[in-house]
Symmetry: C2
Subunit: 93 residues, 2 copies
């Protein structure tokens, strides 16, 4: 399975999932409802995120709770977004 960080972050839905569970842990169903994505799709993406080490999981009862493994993950997303905006501004000059 893919372990490249950038490849893993290059998918919008995976980034949305990361933002979604960035503040608090969430189970698969909640993520699925929150983002309006199919449960199986969320599961597939979570697997990749997990393989990359970007998220951790914890089983409690029937549910599997996922969370972002490190705060630097979101920080990286943020600075990438900032850079992206900056690049757009420069192009419109």
């Amino acid at each position: 399975m893919n372990e490249d960080l950038f490849k893993c972050l290059s998918d919008l839905n995976r980034r949305r999932i990361l933002y979604c569970i960035g503040r608090q842990e969430m189970c698969v169903n909640s993520i699925s409802e929150c983002l309006e994505l199919e449960q199986s799709l969320v599961s597939h993406h979570l697997k990749e995120l997990y393989t990359c080490g970007l998220v951790t999981r914890e089983r409690r009862g029937k549910k599997n709770y996922y969370r972002v493994s490190q705060k630097q993950v979101i920080a990286l997303l943020e600075s990438a977004k900032e850079l992206g905006d900056s690049l757009k501004v420069c192009k419109s000059d």
Copy 2:
């Protein structure tokens, strides 16, 4: 064409090109030789990097000189690398 920053950075050869021209501007041939990649491949990648605004170019004579548009680009690559290493370490615990 693709304008997503992460998608653009997700390719290893494009990242290699960015590192290559991170310190000084370089023409296509030099990049090509330096990284041992086909000229046309480098050209294709540079086009994507340019579309994203990650690089700028300047024609001088026959040659086209490319450089990284902002120092934050390399900074982002660096912090991503750091995070990647950190994730690997955590997984081997």
